[in-house]
Amino acid sequence: MTLSTLGEPDYRLDDSTPAQWPAAELELAERIAPLPRLLAGLAEAGSRQTGLTAHERVFGPLPLPWDTWVDARGWNLGDSRRSGPGRRSRADRSRSASRAAARLIDVVERSGLTGRGGAGFPTGRKLRAVAEGGGPTVVVANGAEGEPASRKDRVLLTRVPHLVLDGITLAAFAVGATRAFLAVHDEAQLISDLEATVSARNVAGLDPVPVEVVGIEPRYTASEQTSIVQYLNGGPGLPTFTPPRTHERGVAGRPTAVNNVETLAHLALIARYGDHWFRQAGRQASPGTTLVTISGDVAWPGVYEIELGTPVGHVVHMAGGPTERPQAILVGGYFGSWLPAGVAWPVPMSHPGLREVGAAMGAGVLVVLGESSCGLAETARVLGYLADEGAGQCGPCIFGLPALADAMADLAFHGDPAAAGKVAGLVPLIEGRGACRHPDGATSLASSALTAFAHDMRWHAERRPCYGVRRPPLLPVPPDVEYW
């Protein structure tokens, strides 16, 4: 299938309200209005990847104008092959592409879409900043899920990759990018599957800027956006000091939009169905749906699509409910915070909702900790892992994280009465002092553990046995890491 068979020459992304949608598009939108949205293609494909045909049957074609093309100077709208009196100049075609791109950015801004990688920055504002940077720009899709408890990006990349690739192409169109990258974990199978998907799309003429799949080291600090940019520039995959910010000077010194792959998948749907449709799910302040990865003591751990604002307890029940009485919930993943189960249960899964209780969305991770586990032991293991995972660049992280992990291990495993004070004392010496957010994630986890497990802490300090310590670890950490 090629773009020219898709017909519609005009970009109708502006003011697309359901009433103005053509019947065919409306029918499609209604079909996918209920949840799931991003994962709507899964039913078509069973346990396999959703192919291009199934993808287009479920979501409709990529909503790029049929006569879009790219040259070294940027994107153009209008057939370059046409000659004679109707032929428009290159400047005209390029202006017309910028207008259509600006309308796409407007729709994304109105939708209220925010980044799904963790920081929750407004996507429309990011795209606009890059587009206004001028000259050819670069788009990077970040699918290198650095959060060990998250699986959502992997689900998107392995099951509905066309949605992600649609999003990359639309983002490239929006910011006028002449290069596009998809950064994923450096795994042979994943990369060869994605490359096959990319070439199938290139044969179909779907992506005017071919997407380059790049494998990066599967660790958190390598998946940070400045690390990916430095790696693409030929350097090591390590975070860099900002400024310059990526959206000002990124890959090859050009303004670069780095977006999480889920964000781009949402963008692919917003470009098709508009901002009104997007806002039909979620809450006023946090519209749309989001993917969450839920694990721990629940019946059916996995990746679920929820409306933003769904209470945490409701999400736990979507995953079949707790398998034992929950004691605490790790919200936001290894770089997130522990909340006592009773506190977490009614809290809406959204940036504002979680901020109110001192937690954060992160990449939408929930881990349910049952009563038979020891939260301090779990935290100590994860802190040991995080200390090992640092980029080794910033002093407070190089020395602070192992000290923090040791203090937490003393508290959990050795009943050291002074350890809790040590943990609390180390937090302000580490927090906010690194070039990236890695150390802040560890301190957030540690200090939330002191609050959520305050009762256990007294128990441990009095050297009484805690049976939870002997339970097999609930939070997975790679097996080759020494914890204590």
Binding site: P239, F241, Q393, C394, G395, P396, C397, G400, R433, A435
Partner: protein, 69 residues
Amino acid sequence: MSVRLRVNMIKCTGHGLCAELMPEFIGLDPWGYPIVPRTDVPEDLADLAPRAVSDCPTLALLLERGEHG
């Protein structure tokens, strides 16, 4: 005009010269790395700030001038 100091922690190797020069403003953590408050440098120390920046052996200290919110 207000002046702020910022450390590029990737470059900083903990020589501690900045803390020696401005002990009233810059402290050191247990590992010898500077703790620089994220507030304006007090006016009576403002003259020392550029010297701290230029004296840093790894050029890890940055001066930010202007209005800060």
